[in-house]
Amino acid sequence: MTPRFGSIDEVTSRLAETGYLASDAIATTAFLADRLGKPLLVEGPAGVGKTELAKAVATATGAELIRLQCYEGVDESRALYEWNHAKQLLRITAERDAADGWDALRDNIFSEEFLLPRPLLAALRSEQPVVLLIDELDKADVEIEGLLLEILGDFQVTVPELGTITARHRPFVVLTSNATRELSEALRRRCLFLHIDYPSAELEQRIVTLRAPGLDDALVASVVRLVQRLRELRQRKSPSVAETVDWARTLIALGATRDADLSAELVRDNLGVLLKHQDDIERAAVALDLPAPATR
């Protein structure tokens, strides 16, 4: 198996080419996941780029991204494989009068032709290297984790009628979780763990500059300082990177592109872009010493 990345700096620069600015922690862990051939379990608050990481790795390595979106009740037939019953029935009906009889038919209808591969099997059987994204695993039921253990540990899966299928290329696996349910120790043990937190001020400035070009550097610095300050206030929902970018775009739309344009009134009127709860907004207004809204 040839490694996808040569060094940690290469990870950083190639991810940056796809528009994903990775912190040193993210780049190091992604590099290790590739080198050690282990799945990567990513946790962290919403909107810090957990899913984006998998997409960026896929783009950077030119691999196909196969995604399994988990939800409550997702099962083997949605995640792994399913037999195409309708097609099997058609075949049985068509061959009803054939000479070689039931034995040949039985061998036949459980063959590749009638197999519908779902994301997990598709990733294992792919001819090309792939990136497998198992998104929001905590939403799925506990049973699906048992199914994943074999795949994540040995990169193989057993289909009773076909035997054991082993991956041709070891896929780059990313699992994301919002921790609404505690994942089992058995699953965690098989993965490298990465907690993506809110980025440092310096990294966040670069992200904003990249995603919302057109603001001058001083204003970007002020925007990021404001957001970092809001995060320290322990809100019900702290603003994430996505909201910082949204807010920067809001400022562009309002024509405020220089640091001097950033006034207390402007911040007060558009705080709703950053904070999504009324009591958060009120608390922030007090902490930042914003003027009371104009009475109409």
Binding site: T29, L36, F193, A218, S222, R225, E232, D259
Partner: protein
């Protein structure tokens, strides 16, 4: 990789286990492989690599970082390169040295100069933190260093420096080149000039001072580990993670940390409780509807109809001891219940010391996240004759005055250490409460081995109700997500 590194990793893993982090043998093997791939050149990258291999959840990161600094120190010796001066001997000397260092700190904070701060922390420990017996044991004290330096007093100086810089810099009026610090070297810190962002400079500096305190603590641990061995230091000098901190031992700082965990925890628990309720309401077959349905398929029940239980939320009555010995625990649990109130049909909160007072209005009426201490601090209506807790009298009081709150749908949660100050326990009264309620649980913040010792009547009560040990946040979370009736 060398044997020495392997031994280091094994010792590191053992120190992590000593702090309640689950580290398997396979994790240590992974860590070794990671160290092999990454090499030892970049200390921060090695930190991230080892963290990804050894950790399994985010709450353990603080412990990991502290121990990493002890086991993989950033330097050996005092890193002075001969520039540090000897620790001052007399008191006036110490004062003037502290003043000098404080000015340097103000300058470094204003410029947000990471390297200068790092160097300054090393110097503060070496010059102000050396204990009197340092010559023999080589020990340092972060407490002593920080008390002498008083870094919070550097904030005013740093603020003045920043204002000077903003006034002197060109472009403060907004001609395009504005923001003296924003584009310069100090992008990551409180270096920006005027404008709107300057109004939270003070708060940023305060965070900067807090970070500097942590730097000093890290440096002290490193120096002490050198003198006394990493194993010893990692056992005593590293704080357990927040969710392992015993409620009864938590200081104001720890309680603050716990309080900030309430919001995220309650959201998680709410999702879990909802999922449990959903799961409980499916699975059993509704025979009548299945038979009726089967008529359309010739009497063969192909599609079974399942029963949907009516959504049924229990009432919750919380009976909590607010006497000083356990009030930290009770307050925290009440905050959690307040955040979870939507999961229950009705919540009653009864506080007591030796008399019961209904706190429901004060607690549930307050907006989430607000400070509830005024409601808890007023003990006058919860005490009678003395200020010691008396569980027997309280249960009798509940039976006499508040029994209407407890019915067959009510779950009762009792919070307290069952230390009744040698009064009559009145187990019969508790039994009467148990007989009326759907379920009674008792959360005891003392370790189970202490139950029944001294004036504790926990063992008597635990024969009547389910008593659970609930020493820390991890155990409380476990109880709510698994055992609390919903």
């Amino acid at each position: 990789m060398s044997v020495a590194l392997d031994a280091r990793l094994v010792g590191f893993a053992r120190a992590l286990r000593g702090h309640g982090v689950v580290v398997g043998t396979s994790d240590v093997v992974d860590a070794g492989a990671a160290a092999h791939v990454l090499g030892l050149e970049d200390r921060e990258r090695l930190r991230e690599g080892l963290a990804s291999a050894l950790l399994r959840r985010a709450g353990q990161r603080q412990v990991f970082d502290d121990l990493y600094d002890v086991w993989f120190p950033s330097a050996v010796g005092d890193r002075s390169h001969g520039t540090f001066e000897a620790p001052p001997a007399t008191l006036p000397d110490r004062r003037s040295r502290a003043e000098e260092l404080r000015q340097q700190l103000a300058r470094a904070l204003a410029d947000a100069d990471e390297r200068a701060l790092d160097e300054l922390a090393a110097r503060v420990v070496a010059e102000l933190g050396a204990l009197a017996n340092a010559a023999t044991t080589g020990s340092f004290s972060a407490q002593q260093a920080l008390d002498t330096l008083a870094p919070q007093t550097a904030i005013a100086g740093a603020l003045a420096r920043m204002q000077d810089a903003a006034e002197n810099a060109p472009g403060g009026s907004g001609d395009g080149s504005g923001g003296s610090g924003g584009t310069g070297a100090g992008v990551s810190g409180p270096a920006g000039g005027g404008g709107f962002a300057s109004r939270f400079s003070r708060d940023e500096l305060r965070s900067g001072v807090a970070a500097f305190r942590r730097r000093v603590e890290v440096e002290t641990r490193r120096r002490n580990a050198e003198a006394r061995g990493a194993e010893r230091i990692s056992r005593y000098a590293v704080r357990p993670p927040a969710d392992q901190t015993p409620f009864l031992l938590a200081g104001p700082h720890e309680l603050d940390e716990l309080r900030s965990a309430v919001g995220p925890l309650s959201r998680k628990l709410a999702t879990r409780l909802a999922a449990r309720r959903r799961r409980a309401s499916r699975g059993s077959i509704d025979v009548r509807r299945t038979l009726r349905r089967s008529l359309s398929t010739g009497g063969i029940p192909i599609r079974p109809a399942l029963q949907h239980a009516k959504p049924h939320r229990p009432d919750l009555v919380i009976l909590c001891d607010l006497s000083t010995s356990v009030s930290g625990f009770s307050r925290f649990t009440i905050l959690l219940v307040q955040a979870l109130a939507a999961q229950f049909r009705r919540v009653r909160i009864l506080g007591f010391v030796n008399r019961v007072d209904d706190l429901t209005e004060q607690v549930l009426g307050a907006p989430p996240g607000s400070d509830l201490s005024s409601a808890f601090d007023d003990l006058s209506r919860m005490t009678r004759w003395h200020r010691n807790s008396d569980y027997g009298a309280v249960f009798a009081d509940v039976v006499e005055h508040h029994l209407d709150a407890i019915g067959h749908r009510t779950a009762v949660l009792i919070l307290g250490d069952a230390r009744s100050n040698h009064t009559e326990p009145q187990v019969d009264m508790l039994r009467e409460i148990t007989g009326r309620a759907r379920h009674v649980s008792w959360l005891n913040p003392e370790p189970a081995r202490m139950w029944g010792s001294g004036d504790s009547v926990a063992l008597l009560y635990s024969e009547v109700v389910d008593m659970h040990e609930c020493r820390n946040l991890a155990q409380l979370r476990d109880f709510v997500s698994r055992l609390l009736p919903v």
